[in-house]
């Protein structure tokens, strides 16, 4: 063929490391930066709850029930005289902890299954990916509902249910990364040198999958907080008297309380919305930062 033979790929413009580029892209995303700031504030405030709250979260004070916001009780008190501000802060610890643990469980399961799927291919791959499809199409809230309904509600059931239903996203991501790595020479070299699957996963797949898994992990935290609060709202998650943002709203389920004591339900509701929104903004920003420009339009 009579074609021009010298057309190698155009050299990339000089640039910093991928990590630095991603960080720069993230910092340019105002929503993501705002989300990170808000999230940092929420985490800080809940961690410092014992110093800030001013009241213990679970102490009943029958002389101070159903009081509106005041200097002594910033967010008022509930029907048992417990301080709503203190409960909101301590509830945040529970909601964030459950969210984080459950998301971690989900991406751990997802990473392992995804890596196995990508490394071994064939039969294992087929089964795992088909399972991922099915698990993903089941509404998690319903799974929690049925599990909690039969086994009984608890934080463990909650975390297990979220971990078992939210892994497919991370699983697919890690499978993709694994497949793209599998064709690289150094993996062949490692395999030839007798590396086993576990070693490959730890040394090659996990580091390579870390950026995209961080993205899915962040979004999974948002999802897990939503699921925890939803389950607790339905009375199927964190059990009273321990406060979680969800079960605080559970207590505000009759019209009289909604009408006369808005300080009961506004703080936890706003806390959930603000926190989850912040996590989602951060996750979105991370995704756009990690995905090279032009590929960010997709789903």
């Amino acid at each position: 063929m009579t074609t021009i033979t010298t057309s190698p790929a155009i050299k990339k413009a000089p640039s910093a490391s991928p990590r630095a580029r991603a960080l720069r892209r993230f910092r340019r995303n105002r929503l993501a930066v705002a989300g990170a700031a808000v999230l940092g504030a929420v985490v800080l405030v809940t961690l410092l709850a014992p110093l800030i709250a001013g009241h213990p979260p679970n102490t009943v004070d029958l002389y101070a029930i159903r009081q509106g916001p005041s200097g002594a009780h910033w967010f008022g008190t509930d029907s048992s005289g417990r301080d709503v501000f203190a409960r909101t802060l301590y509830a945040g610890r529970v909601s964030l902890l459950v969210g984080l643990t459950a998301a971690l469980a989900a991406i751990t399961v997802g990473t392992l299954l995804g890596a196995v799927s990508g490394l071994f291919g064939g039969w294992a791959d087929h089964v795992i990916m088909r399972a991922a499809d099915i698990v993903m199409s089941f509404p998690t809230v319903v799974v929690i509902l049925v599990l909690a309904g039969i086994v009984g509600p608890s934080m463990t059931v909650l975390i297990a249910a979220i971990g078992l239903t939210q892994w497919p996203v991370a699983g697919r991501v890690v499978r993709g990364v694994t497949l793209s790595l599998r064709d690289r020479e150094y993996i062949h070299a490692a395999e030839a040198a007798g590396a086993n699957a576990w070693w490959l996963i730890r040394k090659h797949i996990v580091p390579a999958a870390l950026p995209p898994v961080t993205v899915t992990g962040t979004l999974a935290v948002a999802q897990a907080i939503m699921l925890e609060t939803t389950a607790s709202f339905l009375g199927l998650g964190v059990r009273p008297p321990q406060a979680s943002w969800g079960n605080m709203l559970n207590e505000a389920q009759n019209l009289t309380l909604i009408q006369t004591m808005p300080w009961l339900w506004i703080p936890p509701g706003v806390a959930i919305a603000v926190t989850v929104l912040a996590v989602n903004f951060v996750g979105d920003g991370l995704r756009d930062a990690v995905t090279p420009a032009g590929q960010g339009g997709g789903r």
């Binding site: 993903m136 509902l145 609060t229 939803t230 339905l234 959930i272 989850v276 997709g298 789903r299």
Partner: protein
Amino acid sequence: MAAYVIRRVLANVLVFLLISVGIFVLVRLAPGDPVRMMVDPEQMRGGGAAFIEAKRHELGLDRPIFVQYGHWLSGALHGDLGYSYVGHRPVGAVLGERVGPTLQLMGAALAVALVVSVALGVAAAVRRNTAVDYGATVLGLAAVSVPPFFLGIVGIYVFSLQLGVLPSAGMTTPGGGGLVDQLRHLVLPGLILAFVTAGPFTRYVRGGLVDELGAEYVRTAEAKGASPARVVLRHALRNSLIPLITVVMYQIPQMLAGAVVIEQVFAWPGMGQLAVSSIGQHDYPVIVGFALYVAVLVLVCNLVADVLYAAVDPRVSLR
């Protein structure tokens, strides 16, 4: 086409069997005597321990676990899901009367969500990086970030309690009725479920359309002299809506999760509310029936998604 559908059906039947095994195991884990779950309470009333043992034998509960599973499954497939502990009625009947209200809520919400999300997604994709686009992004994120039960309480507080313009509970006013009354009851729960659903849809529409607008056939259409509106609506949108069919079918079971919560807030007499109250009352047969129902719904939606996708996209060959 027929062969393809049959294959998909068989695959889904296999999955359903696996899920039913899981549910069966849960049933056996559940506290309570299986005999109580399966026998008409009217008969149970008179019988003592001997009667229960006789029934246990009759139901095959003293047979191997595989046989028991077969019995249970074939019963479930024939609509025999046992008896509710609370209402003392067959679970099938109890669930059956709750299906309508849930479908009504979900159907209305789905319709609104589709219209809004396609319009908003197209606007955002066409006017990328403008106020419209950022607005759609923020709304889309808000829809998955603000819990629907909180929205529900806010809605009740504002529109029912403060303004007094919309009802806060139920499907109709007791004793009242009429279409307008029903629609007024539908507004708050329907719109909140629609909002929650439209969030992800909008992101899919926008993302899909942005991808398609970058495709080469779009440039071809422009090179032919097609107007921007025609390029977007006739060419790019058509391509981007094909994957949306799958997304919508997969999202319908997820909507059920939203419906569970919203029915709870608005005392909507649907399946979700039934399931939540059944858990409170430890009404295991109903919970199991609900689980089976959801499993069937999920699998049917998956199946419809596959078949519809194949029917709409000329590239998919049905083999």
